[in-house]
Every structure is written in C-alpha cells, then in structure tokens.
C-alpha cells in the first residue's frame, strides 16, 4: 500500500494512492474510482463516449447529416454557423475543417477578456484571412472581467477562469442570436481533452453571480439576448436553445482528430504558430497552472494527457513522466504580468493564495437543481441542445 498523503483539491485525505493502469490519472483526481483491474472510471466514460460519438466512417456519416442541416439553416443568410476560435490548435483546426472539409460559411467568433496571448491573436488573424472568414471579436468590459478574476481568487476555488468560460459561451450564443444563426461549432474533443472532474471546472452562471455577489463591488451589466455579457445561466441557455433554436455541435467528436497531424496541417496551410502549450491562447492560464499546482495539487495536464493516452496519441510513459510536473507555461514573468494586469500587488495575491481551499460546493450554485433535473439534462444532451458531454460530466464523474 502506497502510504503517501493524497491531497485532493488542496486538502489532505486518507485515500490510498493509486494510478490508473490504463491512463495516468491518480487518486488526486476527485471522484476517481478504480475497478478490479485498476482502470479508472474516467477511462470507462471515455469508452462509453467512444460508442456514442464514433469517428471514422460512422462518425463522418453523422457529421455529414449535421453539415446538411447546418447548410440548410444558413440558406439566404450571410453565414451558416458560428465557430468559436481562440487561436489555439483545436479551434484553428476546426475553423479549417469547417471551411475546407465541410464547405460551410462560418462566422468566426472570439471572446477577448484582456489576457489573449499575442501569438494566438496573430494565429486568428492569419487563419481567418487565409480562409476568407469574417471575424467577430466580442470583448468583455475590462472593469467587469478584472473584478471577476479577482473575485474567484478571493473565493479560493479552482475555477479561476469562470468569467472567461462564461464569457466565451455567452458571446457565441449572443452572436448566433444577433445573426439569427442556428448552429455553434466548438473545437472540443473528449479524445484529446478528456473530461474534467466537476470540482475542477464547474461551469455555472449562478455560481459566477454568487461569487461576484460575495466578493465583487460593482454590479455586472444586465443580460440582453444579443449582448449577454457575463450572464449565462439556465434561463439564458433555455432562451437560446428553446426559443431561438440555437444548437451547439462538437464536430471533433466525430472526426479522426489527431493532434500532431492537425498541427502539421494548420502550420502548413495557415502559418499557425504554437502558442507554447494547450490552453495558452490565454495568458491567464500561466497563473491558473501555478495556483492549481501549488494550492490545490490539481494537474489538469494529467487529465488531458490521459485522454491522449486513451486515444493513442501519447504514450503512457510520456504522460507518467509529465504528471505532476511544473508545466512550461508557469513562467514567473507571465504570472507577474497577470497579477499586475489585475491591479494586484504580489502581497495581495499571496494573501489570496493563503486562503483555505474551497470548491463550488461552498457557494450558491445550480448543482442541486441539476441533480433534480437529471432526466431533462439527459434528453437535452441527446438532442444537442446542450453539449453532449454535459450529462456525463454532472452524473458520471460528479465530484
């Protein structure tokens, strides 16, 4: 028995330390369970998702049906759909596929909250120009965006980018609504990103509001369908999906998405430059990685590397070597930039770091309501009214 103290979400536990025998996720991942072969529940969910979302020929057939629907919905309009882009690999590749492989006329939408990595910014400009795609940048009001980032530091939870995550979703739906478009394409793939435990990335507009109410000073601007700002909860989602009929599609779920091959292709075709790491299209991830590692013992890379191991895109040995290491983007200069940009001193930041670790469960969220509405969420996921992975995220790795 491994006697090391297992720290989960920043708190010591009496769990026995174990590493999944198939991927590399270990006991530090909240909600992880191992079967008699030592395989974790995240691997089992991956296998289930593989069946629900086949790639290869079967996946292409499903995708073709979606493409047909999207084209039909775009008839008589300037665009067929919205594609969310960040300048990172996944979204750039998706934009390429959308134009070159699917033959769609997308409107590329980017959400800027003041921490864009300039390398990713240049990638977006190059990609949209080369593909002849219009770009729409939705900027946050920095006074709101900055305060939300500080709120979540003070809240002492791992969800440090909640404002940005909500902002991305709301801007995609807001633009789709404004342009009367019915489909939003996003570059997520469980095969390369994995599924995050709930307490590592709990996405909830009510959570954002409750944290802001407790720690913020200025009220957030009100929701408007075409200018939602940081308002994106159940009510807003229902409005966009049920009243406006907007659907989110994740084409990469059905595509044979190989990161290395995709990288090579977009470098060649779109002059894409690697921003330095996954998620490093946003400089704030430098600070997030640091806080996660030092304060919470969270290794998000272990989670996404595990996905790559499962889908045969990384060896287990490589992933094991990388697990719990200091990630390259934890650049002290960039961490200082983030702190300075928020208008904080190092002392203030260190004080927030010293607050006892918490999770979304310590705040008012929609979690209990979600558990009550298990069945409707299942149906909504099936119908693509919400991302297909939502159900599994809340009910199958729900810690």
């Amino acid at each position: 028995m491994d006697k090391r103290v297992v720290i989960v979400n920043g708190k010591p536990t009496n769990f026995e330390y174990q590493v999944c025998s198939r991927c590399v996720q270990d006991s530090t991942v909240p909600g992880i369970k191992f079967d008699k072969y030592g395989v974790c529940n995240f691997c089992h969910i991956h296998d289930k998702l593989e069946k629900i979302f086949p790639n290869g020929e079967a996946g292409r057939k499903i995708l073709d049906k979606y493409i047909e629907k999207i084209k039909k919905s775009g008839q008589g309009k300037k665009y067929d759909c919205v594609v969310g882009i960040s300048g990172g690999r996944d979204s750039t590749y998706l934009l390429y596929l959308t134009v070159k492989e699917f033959g769609l006329r997308p409107l590329a939408v980017h959400f800027n909250d003041g921490f864009d990595n300039p390398v990713a910014g240049e990638n977006m400009v190059k990609a949209t120009r080369k593909l002849g795609v219009e770009l729409r940048t939705i900027s946050s009001d920095w006074r709101e965006a900055k305060e939300l980032k500080i709120d979540f530091l003070k809240a002492s939870v791992p969800d440090l980018n909640m404002g940005t995550d909500i902002g991305i979703a709301s801007s995609l739906y807001g633009v789709a609504c404004k342009e009367n478009l019915k489909y939003i394409l996003i570059g997520q793939s469980f095969r390369t990103e994995g599924i995050k435990p709930l307490s590592w990335s709990f996405f909830d507009g009510r959570y954002l509001k409750s944290v802001h109410k407790k720690f913020g000073k200025t009220p957030l601007r009100k929701w408007k369908p075409e200018d939602p700002g940081f308002n994106f909860g159940v009510k807003e989602l229902l409005y966009y999906s049920l009243i406006k009929g907007i659907r989110t599609i994740t084409p990469m779920y059905y595509w044979d998405y190989n990161r290395s091959a995709a990288t090579e292709l977009i470098q060649k075709e779109l002059d894409w430059v690697y921003p330095g790491a996954h998620y490093y299209d946003d400089l704030y991830h430098s600070l997030i990685k640091y806080v996660h590692r030092v304060k919470f013992n969270i290794d998000m890379n272990m989670n996404s590397d595990s996905a790559l191991v499962r889908s045969g895109q990384m060896t287990r040995e490589t992933a094991l070597e990388r697990a719990h290491g200091i990630y390259a983007i934890e650049d002290p200069k960039v961490i200082d930039l983030c702190i300075k940009r928020l208008g904080l001193t190092r002392e203030q930041f260190d004080e927030y770091m010293s607050y006892p670790p918490k999770t979304f469960r310590d705040y008012d969220t929609i979690y209990n309501l979600i558990r009550l509405f298990k069945f409707p969420i299942y149906v909504f996921s099936k119908l693509n009214l919400i991302p297909r992975i939502t159900y599994d995220k809340y009910f199958n790795v729900g810690k």
């Binding site: 980017h110 800027n112 003041g114 864009d116 300039p118 910014g121 240049e122 977006m124 400009v125 219009e134 770009l135 729409r136 940048t137 939705i138 900027s139 946050s140 009001d141 920095w142 006074r143 900055k146 200018d227 930039l337 300075k340 940009r341 208008g343």
Partner: protein, 279 residues
C-alpha cells in the same frame, strides 16, 4: 520624391514595455525588409496610454527606451517615429521622437492637446517644430492634437512648411465596438483629411491595437484602422483588430507646398477658413 512608409499598428499591452518593444522591433525589421524609408509606431508604446505604471517607470529621452529605437534605426537604415512616455525634470510627458536612419533623434515633440483624463499623467508640451529631411519637411504631433477642436496645432505645422505630418496615436473605442461597425466614423478621417487638403500635406497616423488594462480608460480598447491621407483622400488604412499588430505599408509621392507665410492666410481665406469669424 517618393516615400515608402510602414504604419506599424502595434499591439500595446498596458504596463509591459519589454513585451511591447520586442513586438515593435519585429515590425521595424519587417518594415526594413520591405524597403520602407520610414516606420511610424503608435503613441506611448512603452506602457500604453494612461497606464499608471508610467508614474514610476517612465524614462528620460534620450534614455534606455529611446536608445532601443535609435539603435534599430541605425541598424536597419530606416527613419523611425515612435511615441514614448518621457520623464523630464520630475515631470512626465506624452512624447514622440523622430529618428533618422543614422540613429539621431532629429525631432522631439510632447503632446499639447491632452485629454482631461491625461492630465494626472502627462504635462502639456511646450513647442512645435518641423525638421528638414531627405523627404522634405516632417512635422510630428500626437493623437488628439488632431481633434477637430485642436486643428490649430496641425495648421501651425502646415504653416511651418511640413510636407509630411506624422501622428503616433492611441485611438480608442468602447469595448462593445466590433468588426462589422465603423469604429470612429468621421472622428479621425475628417480632421486628418482637412489638414491634408488645406496644406497639401501627407498626414499619417498610426494607432495601436489592444485592450486597455489599467488607468481611466478601462472598458475601452484600441482597434487599429490607422490612416494615411493626402489632399485627394485616403491612401492607406489599417485593418480593424484588437489583439494582433501588423505592418501596413504604402508608397506615395511627397506633396509639395505651394504657399508660404501670408500666402497661406490668403489661400485659407479662399477656402473659407477664417480663424476669427466665430470670436
């Protein structure tokens, strides 16, 4: 006489001089590679316009920041005009310098028409000048010096015989302005066009791009669309963008002034410009 100019529409991050200068250097090198005679960078590219870090970190001119650009000019055999914050006698100015291709600072100008929100940051400049170059006389002013209500500044440079007016800028818009909109409408085109037309000048204004973090203009951003105009209209316009810099290059004839001194007054009167009619 022709001149090839690069408008270096730079991404300026608030409070990050080193990162900003690194990007500026890339654009200067790119301009040199494209055989530009002159590269025009935006206003206060060290800390970004009205960023509070200017209080403690502004440098004198000449100083370590201006040195970066004098060396670049020399190394790449190119004229550089760049906006920097300037510490001078315990005061801070919003300054622009013109450097010749040998690396000499041949003109230094500090902004006169400061916006009210700038007053806590910068002192008002105290002189206007033009300088003789191989391309003709060049004058420099900065951003809001070209507001419709402050055109006397541009007029003075025109009267001093400027063939080319360079204006490093940080044009701002509200955060909610997006690509499909006309970001400034007539705010800049009209006054720049007026100066170019009245004085037969080439007027070039390069603005920065970026999201404003820190200072009184939080909630606004800079989206590019730099402008070069002559008496006939727009010669070149930069793209709308808020997160990626780019070099916008054009080549044009340097206009020649027709009039001097009181001839200008007569000419302006003939164009309906009468300074005293509203007094």
């Amino acid at each position: 006489m022709k001149i090839k100019i690069g408008m270096a529409q730079l991404l300026v991050e608030g409070g990050e001089p080193e990162r900003n200068f690194n990007r500026a250097e890339k654009l200067v090198v790119e301009a040199a590679q494209q055989n530009c005679d002159l590269v025009l960078l935006p206003e206060t590219i060290d800390f970004a316009w009205t960023h509070p870090s200017v209080y403690n970190e502004a440098q004198p001119i000449p100083g370590k920041f201006s040195y970066i650009f004098t060396e670049l000019a020399k190394q790449h055999n190119i004229y550089i005009c760049v906006g920097l914050s300037e510490r001078s006698n315990e005061k801070i100015y919003n300054t622009a310098i013109l450097i010749n291709k040998y690396g000499d600072i041949i003109l230094k100008y500090s902004k006169i028409n400061l916006l009210e929100v700038e007053h806590p940051f910068y002192e008002v400049g105290t002189k206007l000048e033009v300088v003789d170059t191989e391309f003709g006389k060049i004058g420099v002013n900065i951003c809001a010096d070209n507001y419709s209500g402050a055109l006397s500044i541009g007029h003075t440079l025109g009267r001093m015989g400027a063939n080319i007016l360079l204006s490093p800028s940080s044009w701002t818009v509200d955060y909610c302005v997006t690509e499909e909109m006309d970001p400034y409408k007539d705010k800049w085109k009209k006054p720049l066009q007026s100066l170019a037309s009245l004085f037969n000048m080439l007027v070039v204004s390069t603005t920065s791009v970026g999201y404003i973090v820190g200072g009184p203009y939080e909630g606004k951003k800079m989206v590019g669309c730099s402008l070069a105009v002559n008496k006939n209209g727009i010669i070149k316009e930069g793209h709308f963008n808020e997160f990626a810099g780019e070099l916008v290059v054009f080549e044009t004839d340097v206009p020649k002034n027709k009039f001097k001194g009181t001839q200008i007054s007569d000419y302006l009167s003939s164009r309906g410009v009468d300074y005293y009619s509203k007094m």
